[in-house]
């Protein structure tokens, strides 16, 4: 497969996954903001979203204050913000457009109509229609495109690059969501109702609330949430599950100079496989997640160099 084609497929799937996770994160923050809390805590939540995406500068250029409305506008519909849902859906569509002959017509039509619909929605319309409905729509469109991909695409290299993009992006996003929310939640330490709602919302943001109940049949504790989202290998949005898939798909596309990237991914996978939540928490969750995200970044970089950047002419 052409390196450029692989590149477009990889990024197409990353942008869809990113839009979905962003919708999840914004939704949980929005839901949390509806629970009575101190203004300071609320602002901290919205601030965290800007920080999470390292967008402080871009944000400050357009908005003077951090409010729910501003942050939502910035992260949902702002065309100048390349990390907004609007931009992610556009970029996913642009990448798909560049390879529309490689993907199935059902995939192309799904992404194209998602973008055409998104383009029609102004921020006011989104707010008036109920912002959670919009986030649900984004999640459903992402699920739909994933479903159409699994249901129609030949399981060849194109498919493996798409899965690789999806899982790598999701691993990064789950780690970020966990990092930012854990950070906000941890200092309180009280075990009142607020905490329950906050942890519950966090679980819901990664579609893990019912899963948690099923697995633990017990009260929600930060330790178990951490274990579920990092170590469970049967939970589709956990880090272990994602890296498992990254390793498998990397094996399927391997070439003569991808050994090092495969080694890095394999190592990370082994660590997740044999890790204990007590050790992670003892090390400090934030430190552990920061290290994890650095390594995800390096694996992404390795994939880029090994497969996607047009290869040197001497070979």
């Amino acid at each position: 497969m052409l390196s450029r084609t692989a590149d477009h497929l990889f990024w197409m799937s990353r942008y869809i996954e990113r839009a979905e996770n962003l919708a999840r994160l914004l939704d949980v923050t929005w839901q949390m903001s509806l629970v009575p809390q101190a203004l300071e805590a609320a602002n901290q939540n919205w601030n965290a979203i800007i920080a999470l995406n390292s967008l402080e500068e871009t944000y400050a250029k357009k908005y003077s204050t951090v409010t729910a409305d501003n942050v939502l506008r910035f992260m949902v519909s702002d065309q100048d913000n390349f990390a907004s849902i609007h931009s992610c859906l556009r970029l996913a569509r642009e990448n798909a457009h560049a390879v529309r002959g490689t993907i199935t017509s059902e995939m192309w039509e799904t992404l194209n109509s998602t973008w055409l619909e998104a383009r029609e929605k102004s921020f006011e319309q989104i707010i008036n229609g109920g912002i959670s409905e919009f986030f649900d729509w984004v999640k459903m469109r992402s699920s739909l495109s994933r479903g159409v991909t699994i249901g129609t695409l030949l399981q060849d290299k194109a498919y493996h690059f798409i899965r690789l993009g999806t899982l790598l992006e999701r691993a990064d996003n789950t780690a970020r969501i966990l990092d930012v929310k854990y950070h906000v939640l941890r200092p309180h330490g009280d075990e009142g109702a607020t905490d329950f709602y906050q942890w519950g919302a966090l679980l819901r943001s990664v579609s893990a609330f019912e899963v948690y109940r099923k697995v633990y049949r017990d009260v929600i504790t930060p330790e178990r949430v951490t274990e579920l989202l990092i170590l469970r290998n049967d939970m589709p949005r956990s880090l272990h599950f994602c890296i498992n898939g990254v390793v498998k798909n990397l094996d399927l596309i391997a070439n003569s100079h991808s050994d090092e990237t495969q080694r890095q991914a394999g190592l990370l996978h082994a660590q997740l496989h044999y890790a204990r939540v007590e050790d992670i928490l003892a090390q400090g969750l934030h430190e552990w997640l920061t290290d994890f995200m650095d390594r995800i970044y390096l694996i992404g970089d390795g994939i880029s160099k090994d497969f996607l950047v047009p290869m040197a002419e001497a070979a």
Partner: protein, 470 residues
Amino acid sequence: MNFYNEMVDANGGVRAHYQGYDEWLKATPPERIARKRAEADLAFHRVGITFAVYGEEAGKERLIPFDIVPRIIPSAEWTTMQDGLRQRVTALNMFLHDVYHDQEILKAGKIPAEQVLNNAQYRAVMQGVDLPGQIYAHIAGVDIVRAGAGESYVLEDNLRVPSGVSYMLEDRKMMMRLFPELFAKHKVAPVQHYPDMLLEKLRAVAPKGVSDPTVVVLTPGAYNSAYFEHTFLAQQMGVELVEGRDLFVKDEVVYMRTTQGPQRVDVIYRRIDDDFLDPLAFRQDSALGVPGILKAYQAGNVTLSNAIGTGVADDKSIYPYVPEMIRFYLGEEPILNNVPTYMCRKPDDLKYVLAHLPELVVKEVHGAGGYGMLVGPASTKEQIEHFRQLLIAKPEGYIAQPTLALSNCPTFVEEGIAPRHLDLRPFVLSSGKCVNMVPGGLTRVALTKGSLVVNSSQGGGTKDTWVLED
């Protein structure tokens, strides 16, 4: 002017081959047709069957209007047309081989040598290069119109990178989806095997000794006006769609950059003009092409389709000589007519043209897409005077033809069903062993009342073309 109507004869009777359609149309409520039209628009949008328009905002895409009244051609008429197209394209390919080898036709004085050798589309680098099957134009799009009394004329031969075949296929798909009952009622000759036929032709012209050739489609990229068609054809043939940056040349061999390393490429269906193909040989500022590809081509290590230098045969100044080529190479009389053409480079012709501008159509020799032309009867005094100056300043850059009474066909427009002018572009495929095509082609229709210009860039639309089997 009297126009030939494809559906209705001079006495208002419906022609035999349109009778089945006419009955269906009369029995179908207008609301149903309106609903189907809206459905078609929506589907074309969702599928993204679009084209980009030069000069408009970058990346902006437009739909080509699709008309749901088919253009119907009876079987006998098509058979004649098909014979004529085979004959014409065979002669054109022989002419191209001759021009780039012994130049017999020039020596015989049938075509003035300077007209060919000084032509901007003549590529000296192709002199003496041998091509598989001696074929230059593997894909030809020949524009045919019906005029006056009903006879057909070839308007032009497109031998460089003719487009539109994807619309031909999508229009058929759409018609079958919207009106399956019409296909149950009529025996419409199928066209959907075009991509198979194309792939077979491309594989047949692979370099010598290559048994399982790697074929690719080369596109200028996503912002090209015909990008949809490029992706469509690559996908339908199951081959890679590449851009110039995906290819490189090493030791006169072309490779594409893949995730597994370089892979050799044998046949390139290129949708990039000669000028942009190789910055080392042609335009240095082109980022679309592949440095060194000409050398690989000359060495016979890769096949380009169409060949470099085919433009010398589809130039409007060469067009008047095509009937002569048919006689010279095949010893046959042309089956398809040429439109009488005045060559402004000839003083007598120029004199006539200047005296009759309001009646004539004037075209730039290298023009395409309906740009840079004057349609005399539809033009203002100022436009005519403007062209008069252009002609006097650069006569060799123009030809002129009588304004043809292009046939028309009922078409859905704002005011309901009304006649609009149309042409037909069959796509003729040649590999050396044989010349063939799918029945029909792309029908283009001028949607503006009275307009004779059918190009999509000028607001033209398309129709499904039916060749009826007996």
